[in-house]
């Protein structure tokens, strides 16, 4: 029984069982004793009556019959009442009974008192030890409340209360890590805000400058055309950034509900790279899509397309002219894996653990013409993980990079 898991409870229960047996034994002993005494009284009382009757010359047969008689008649009762032997008579009128009463009281009272004392003291010891345990726990929990996690609850014993302690321990661990992430979130928000303002300020400053130039030479059509095109590009960049930021924020806030359905993978891929094929052609890069056309995938079409699109965009950013980007997929026992492989520069080992961080820009990128903001890959990661998938990356310097998106099939 699970009640006996707890060591202290188990010992207390053992004590109760032992005590009950003791109590029972003592009752049996007392009643045996009393029955014996009653027998003695009966024998001596009858003996006294028989002796007296024989002395008075009553025949032996009559006395024997009288002793064997079990019928009680009214006249008999009346006679007894007359000599003062009935229920109203006091104990001291019966010398034998008086002796019995005294002896049984003298024996049972001290024994009962002793038993009660044992019961009370063991019970209070049990409760006292439980209380010590609770006080100890209370002190530790109090420390937890005050942010001191250096002491731990006793949780390494069997029993319900230790299970509670172990749950409290888990709660404390969660609280501690929450407190630490809270600090990190503040730091993160501070950095994010400074990153965003930096990212917005740069095109804004450019736009202001271009506008000044146009303002200075309103008659020069060439200049106006050139700089208004530049303004357009900067505005475009700002819009892109804001769009990405909004998407990431919505994902963070958990306000996105992924509408997962079965789609064919080629359909998903063509939806993802729809807007990128023109850019690839312009930059003389090739996007090769290759895999089983009947493969199904369970995901949210729109968001997953966004994720794959961002990864392909990233691949386009980091391959030179003539680069090849291969999109392949395969079914494994539990998952569908979509891989995007490029033959670009690859990722430096010191960068590889940071590429999914927001606004992370590698110090190793030489050609700064790459237009990445540092949000595409983080967004892809949020989208894939939000749907219970995994995104991983493998890269070899100067040979290329493979991003793999894995989705559960069931």
């Amino acid at each position: 029984m699970s009640l006996f898991q707890d060591k202290q409870v188990r010992w207390y229960c053992f004590f109760l069982i032992f005590f009950s047996i003791l109590l029972l034994g003592m009752n049996v002993m007392c009643s045996i004793n009393q029955v014996n005494y009653a027998k003695e009284i009966y024998i001596s009382n009858n003996g006294a009556i028989a002796s007296y009757l024989l002395e008075k010359g009553i025949s032996r047969e009559v006395v024997a019959d009288a002793l064997a008689n079990s019928k009680v008649s009214e006249t008999g009762k009346e006679l007894l009442a007359m000599v003062g032997i009935d229920h109203r008579a006091a104990y001291h009128k019966f010398p034998y009974l008086d002796k019995l009463r005294k002896s049984s009281l003298y024996v049972t009272i001290p024994i009962s008192l002793l038993l009660v004392l044992v019961l009370l003291s063991v019970t209070s010891l049990f409760f006292w030890r439980r209380k010590q345990l609770f006080l100890q726990a209370d002190k530790v929990i109090g420390d937890y409340i005050n942010g001191d996690f250096s002491h731990h609850l006793p949780q390494n014993s069997e029993g319900a209360i230790y299970q509670v302690f172990s749950s409290v321990e888990r709660l404390a661990t969660m609280l501690k890590s929450k407190m630490e992430t809270e600090h990190k979130i503040k730091e993160f928000l501070k950095n994010t805000i400074s990153d965003i303002s930096h990212q917005l300020k740069t095109p804004l400053a450019a736009i202001a400058m271009y506008q000044e130039i146009i303002d200075a030479e309103p008659g020069n059509t060439e200049t106006v055309k050139e700089f208004s095109a530049k303004i357009g590009a900067s505005l475009n960049r700002m819009e892109q950034l804001i769009q990405l930021m909004l998407k990431i924020t919505r994902l963070d806030a958990g306000s996105i509900v992924f509408e997962k359905r079965y789609y064919s993978v080629p359909e998903l891929i063509s939806n993802s790279i729809n807007e990128l094929t023109a850019r690839a052609r312009k930059e003389h890069k090739q996007i090769i899509v290759d895999g089983d056309p009947r493969q199904q995938i369970f995901c949210d079409m729109e968001w997953t397309s966004e994720a794959i699109g961002n990864i392909v965009k990233n691949a386009l950013d980091h391959t030179g002219s003539g680069g090849v980007i291969r999109i392949t997929w395969e079914q494994t026992p539990a998952m569908v894996r979509i891989s995007v492989t490029d033959n670009g520069d690859g990722i430096a080992p010191e960068d590889i653990y940071h590429i999914f961080k927001r606004f992370y820009r590698s110090k190793n990128i030489k050609n700064m013409k790459t237009t990445g903001i540092g949000l595409g890959l983080p967004l892809a990661k949020s989208i894939v993980e939000g749907q219970g998938g995994v995104i991983s990356v493998q890269s070899e310097r100067h040979h290329g990079t493979t991003f793999t998106l894995s989705f559960l099939t069931e």
Partner: protein
């Protein structure tokens, strides 16, 4: 927050001439929610490291703290209970109970600790591991990869502070291996679960947060920063 703290851990087998240093002054920490892989050749000491952390083997010197508690200052009974409630194990050979179905195998550790299983949590884990449709199957009706996924579920159900995975993909082909590692990654992110996995296959470490290499008993940190829970 440090879930696992290993300080100056040494393990020596044998005496005098035949003395072998399996671990030499190994120190590292794992934060909550980190998924770390230990790679190394067989015989490099990585299994000894895992056995010491799981308190299945006594280190010669050094300390191991799991959530600030020293496993080796406890007596055997306390250590057993601590291990049951705080450390999950995943083995190379799955170690499922053949008479129990998938769902029963997953809730098994709770029953060992006399707890009632929370079926919402069980369903969530089954869904996470893609086992919902196989919940009533016996281990003998499952493939190796599926069996290992059940073993992952069994390690996750108690929400332990630390999961130790000893070559979880050792008996699996490459596709199933990648599945198992990807599912461990998902679980680590979803439940902020700290996992330490041993593997000899470096290709499987692409999605983990940190990679350590053990070579001749010496541990080196191959990089990977703190898990970016926010990104």
């Amino acid at each position: 927050m440090d879930i696992l703290e290993v300080k100056n851990l040494c393990k020596t087998y044998g005496m005098g001439e035949t003395k072998v240093d399996a671990l030499k002054d190994v120190s590292f920490t794992l934060k909550k929610g980190e998924f770390a892989a230990v790679v190394g050749e067989s015989g490099s000491g990585k299994s000894t490291l895992l056995n010491c952390i799981g308190a299945l083997d006594n280190p010669t010197s050094g300390t191991i703290l799991v959530d600030g508690q020293n496993l080796f200052s406890m007596n055997e009974e306390e250590r057993t209970i601590f291990r049951r409630r705080n450390i999950g194990f995943i083995f190379q050979s799955f170690q499922l109970v053949p008479e129990l179905n998938v769902e029963q195998n997953i809730i098994f550790p709770l029953l060992l600790d006399y707890r009632k299983p929370d079926y919402a949590a069980v369903n969530e884990i089954l869904e996470l591991l893609g086992l919902t449709q196989r919940r009533r199957h016996l281990p003998s009706q499952l493939s190796g990869g599926q069996q290992q996924r059940v073993a992952i579920g069994r390690a996750l159900i108690t929400k332990p502070k630390l999961i130790l995975a000893d070559e979880p993909t050792g008996n699996l082909d490459s596709k199933n291996s990648q599945d198992v590692v990807d599912l461990l990654t998902t679980a680590s992110r979803r439940y902020q679960q700290t996992i330490l996995m041993i593997t000899h296959n470096k290709n499987l470490t692409t999605s983990v947060d940190r990679v350590f290499r053990v070579s001749d008993g010496i541990l080196t940190d191959l990089g990977g920063a703190v898990n970016e829970a926010l990104s």
